[in-house]
């Protein structure tokens, strides 16, 4: 029995450490806004550099949705609802989740390894010795950059995904274009868009926090930075899917 207890204790202890770090990061968020150039550079890093992969994946996900959705809907003779199905699936669920998973793999890993290497090469210590708080100078711009980039990337993912669904649904499977768009327009509510937005912001906070935490606390060796990078991907993915369930349940309840 006690064997089962220790891993839980470790998880709780780690959650506590991440929580304390989160508070420290939040405390530095306002002062860090004095350096807008750093923040913009990080939005570019996390956002613009992830654009291609986000767009490509959005296109494929939209296309697959159209194929699967069409196959399912035509059994009930309601192919014309394909637009609604694809749009709701993307905006509420697949957009935020897949964007977050891709973000963790593309931007999160690069944040972790960059900060970890800064630790390993004494850059963070050097900042401390120059009376510069590395949390303010290094961690916060990257953290905020990730949070701002995530909803933007999600929006782009959604739009490209819907375009992909239209490409296959209307272009290949001959769903009528008018009903594809008009049904989507009347069925997708602001509520759905809000759900997607809230999810993407929450995932942005979780994934960015995990990435900067793991980097900042990486063991300053080659192996340590590698391990931290792996942990970033794994923990981000698990947290994303966990929060996704909780948020979906909360939104369906309300």
């Amino acid at each position: 029995m006690s064997g089962n207890f220790h891993p839980l204790g470790n998880v709780l202890a780690k959650a506590g450490r991440v929580g304390l770090f989160f508070v420290r990061v939040l405390g530095q968020c306002v002062p860090a806004l004095n350096y807008p150039r750093l923040l913009i550079a990080q939005i570019f890093n996390a956002g613009a550099r992830s654009l291609i992969i986000i767009m490509l994946c959005g296109l494929f996900v939209g296309m697959v949705l159209a194929l699967q959705g069409y196959d399912l809907l035509q059994r009930f003779g309601s192919e014309s609802a394909l637009g609604v199905a694809a749009a709701l699936g993307l905006v509420r669920e697949l957009g935020p989740v897949i964007t977050a998973l891709l973000f963790a793999g593309r931007a999160g890993t690069s944040l972790t390894s960059e900060i970890g290497l800064m630790r390993a090469t004494d850059q963070l210590t050097a900042m401390e010795m120059m009376a510069v708080d590395p949390v303010r100078r290094v961690v916060v711009p990257r953290f905020l950059g990730g949070i701002i980039a995530m909803p933007l990337l999600t929006a782009i993912f959604d739009v490209i995904g819907i375009f992909g669904a239209q490409l296959i649904g209307v272009g290949l499977l001959r769903v009528e274009s008018g009903s594809f768009w008009s049904q989507m327009q009347s069925a997708v509510q602001m509520r759905d868009v809000k759900e997607g937005l809230v999810k993407s912001v929450v995932f942005g906070v979780a994934c960015s926090l995990v990435a900067v935490y793991e980097g900042f606390h990486a063991e300053p060796t080659a192996a340590g930075v590698g391990l931290a990078t792996t942990r970033t991907v794994v923990i981000s993915a698990v947290l994303t899917l966990l929060f996704d369930y909780l948020l979906t349940a909360a939104f369906l309840n309300s």
Partner: protein, 271 residues
Amino acid sequence: MDSPTPGESVVEVRDLRYTISGRTIFDGLNLSVRRGAITAVMGPSGTGKTTLLRLLMGAVRPDSGVLSVFGKEPARLNRVGIYALRRRVGMLFQNGALMSDLDVFENVAFPLRAHTRLPEPLLRRLVLMKLQAVGLRGAAELDTSALSGGMARRVALARAIVMDPELLIYDEPFVGLDPISLGVILRLIQTLNATLGITSIVVTHDVEEISRIAHCSYLLANGKAAAAGSPAELRATAAPVVRQFMSGLPDGPVPFHVPAPDYREQLMQDP
């Protein structure tokens, strides 16, 4: 080498004790650094030279004893106080520790941008002057990845003096340098000390090099200052550990062999 007129001390260490995870690093360390002098802190690897720097900068706290910098004890200061203290101290890291996301100019400008609101033209002139002092004004636009080890250390030195510190700490400044770069760093330490009047602490194990410029040297061993004085005085010290270190003997009080079970027994043993 002429000693500067004995002034007040910038750093005072008295009866310092420090242990980390059960290992005693310092046990009754006494040391003082005079204003305007070059003080060398030497010692075999693992004697806590770098730990001493961490104590001076307030990164760790001693178990007991007094350690004061500019008359203040870092251990008694809060974060704001420690940061205020660190602004008066420049530190040169062993590998330079330059920011990898900034070019040479921005690296040197980094402390100025963080702590001052200087107008851009003035900041530019200050940075160029410091780069000129280390001979790298022509490298201002380079990326840090394009620098050799010696150049990176000179850039780090320019960064360390850009805030005009009163105390400059060098952590192993000679490690891994070719003879030319080593000569350059050696001359820079001396010039900066003489022309700017910066008090310097050089942590090193390169006895020959530092002996040429240091006014006073301390040799750390077994948690204490085993010897102190001018390089000549250190050489004349009879204590075995000092003799072994100053002459670079492979075996002595610092043993060649790491403690191990009996050699013959271990060889004959079946695995």
